[in-house]
Subunit: 294 residues, 2 copies
């Protein structure tokens, strides 16, 4: 990774983590429940969604400080989804990013409630912000609820569970990921543009770019599960194959998956050109995400 991108990402992660911590710590909640929430919040992660939001906003000349409440709400939703996905009844994971999963560190009931609480309070982060007008707040809440709800991420996670041990087509795989991971990534990018007051027409093109990012992100995730380095990706290489999960490489082969990804990268670059963002930092980030090794 380019050194200046690396230090930028590290700095952004710190800013997002600080804002998340500040919000959670000022709430009046039982100590151990707060500990459980903070445990998963502090497990960190790359904060890619907030960073996508910020660089999109910056690319259009927006005031990047405005992204924080929306970005924090988004990370709370993302964190809740990881806590619930790891539960024994779902993916039954013991570790995430090298740390015990929430229900292993605490207990299942606490993990369920920490997830429910993070989800619910993500909307409160928006209503209680003083950076947005009423109509901005409602736009963000509406998009966030749709992206993460019954027609969005929740449906994707459900379809993903149902597809386990099933032979599925590339179209089915893609429609699962468009919902499961794509919708929150799209939300990040759309809101970045929205907060920079881009035109309706530009927002439409931006959504197309956002959709490609979600798919590219997932294909690269699947590729790393085959040829990544365990210390870098933070989970066992080959875990998808061991779990009998359909992935881009399992359907298309490793080279096929890389080729498939490249087609989306080309389309994504065409969008960036049309949006006059091809020389912006968001283009550097997009390129990094497509080629990342972690």
């Amino acid at each position: 990774m380019n050194r200046s991108l690396q230090s930028f990402l590290a700095q952004e992660q710190q800013e997002v983590n600080a804002a998340l911590n500040k919000y959670i710590k000022q709430l009046n909640i039982p100590d151990r429940l707060r500990e459980s929430v903070l445990y998963s919040i502090e497990a960190g992660g790359k904060r890619l969604r907030p960073i996508l939001m910020k660089l999109t906003c910056e690319g259009f000349g927006g005031d990047v400080k405005k992204i924080y409440p929306a970005a924090i709400a988004l990370e709370m939703i993302h964190t809740y989804s990881l806590i619930h996905d790891d539960l024994p009844a779902m993916d039954d994971d013991t570790y995430r990013r090298g740390k015990l999963t929430n229900h292993k560190k605490f207990d299942e009931a606490t993990a369920i409630l920490a997830g429910d609480g993070l989800l619910t309070n993500s909307f409160h982060v928006i209503t209680s912000s003083d950076l947005y007008t009423d109509s901005e707040k409602l736009f963000i809440i509406d998009k966030l609820a749709k992206a993460s709800g019954l027609e969005g991420m929740v449906a994707g996670q459900y379809m993903d569970m149902m597809a386990e041990n099933q032979q599925i087509t590339i179209e089915e795989l893609e429609s699962i990921h468009r919902l499961k991971t794509g919708r929150l990534i799209s939300f990040a990018i759309e809101i970045g543009g929205f907060l920079a007051n881009v035109s309706e027409e530009m927002l439409c093109k931006l959504k197309e770019f956002a959709e490609y990012q979600g798919i590219i992100f997932q294909i690269q995730d699947d590729i790393l599960d085959v040829e990544g380095e365990q210390e870098l990706i933070g989970k066992q290489v080959g875990s998808d194959i061991n779990n009998d999960k359909s992935t881009y490489p399992s359907i298309l082969g490793l080279q096929g998956a890389k080729h498939y990804k490249q087609q989306y990268v080309n389309q994504s670059n065409e969008c960036l050109t049309a949006l006059d963002l091809i020389n912006a930092n968001i283009a550097i980030l997009a390129q990094y995400l497509a080629d990342r090794n972690q």
Copy 2:
């Protein structure tokens, strides 16, 4: 129960059920996930919260049609909380209102996701309504997220779980129930007043009335668990004692609990008098809730 109250409640239940069904059915979600959501939605329940909201709004001369989106969002949150509370890791219940619990009818993963989805989409019900101004929507979303989130219902459920098999005081019991069941009941009543445009001062008194209703409701629930009729209450009499749960009767004795409840009923009636609602239908409902046998 008074026959006219009975038929009013039945009619209201139908209206709320129809509106809930309509919202869920127009969503684009996987069939079996929708079935699971509708299963718990259709398990019905008394719809007391929407009815409290409606009669409060009516008592202040408001337009009762305006309550529906807020009431439906509230019932979706209430329904999600029952699905998650019934999970094996939480209360581990097999039946609710005489029907299999969601995770027994479907499976745990589906139940978790149905709950997550209901919770998330409850906020979408508000953003997508055409009955509210932007500022009304934000007021409702803010109150709903606070009432049901980490400082509200979720904290109450957490404290309730932690209190199992523990000796607790009446103050501790009450603080659990103020959060676990009280906050959503309060939300119902407050929003009923808010939508009827009551003054700040009246809203403050109304909140006091709402808090009493939450406590009275819970005391009566505990009393019915001791002396109720199984067919009417829809669960086994004595289940709290069998689960070694602290209740008002277990701490105060049955007569003590009845006396304790009556003090709150008196204070509640004083509020109704101050609010000039003592002759309104909300007063009849409050009396019924305090004395109900189901």
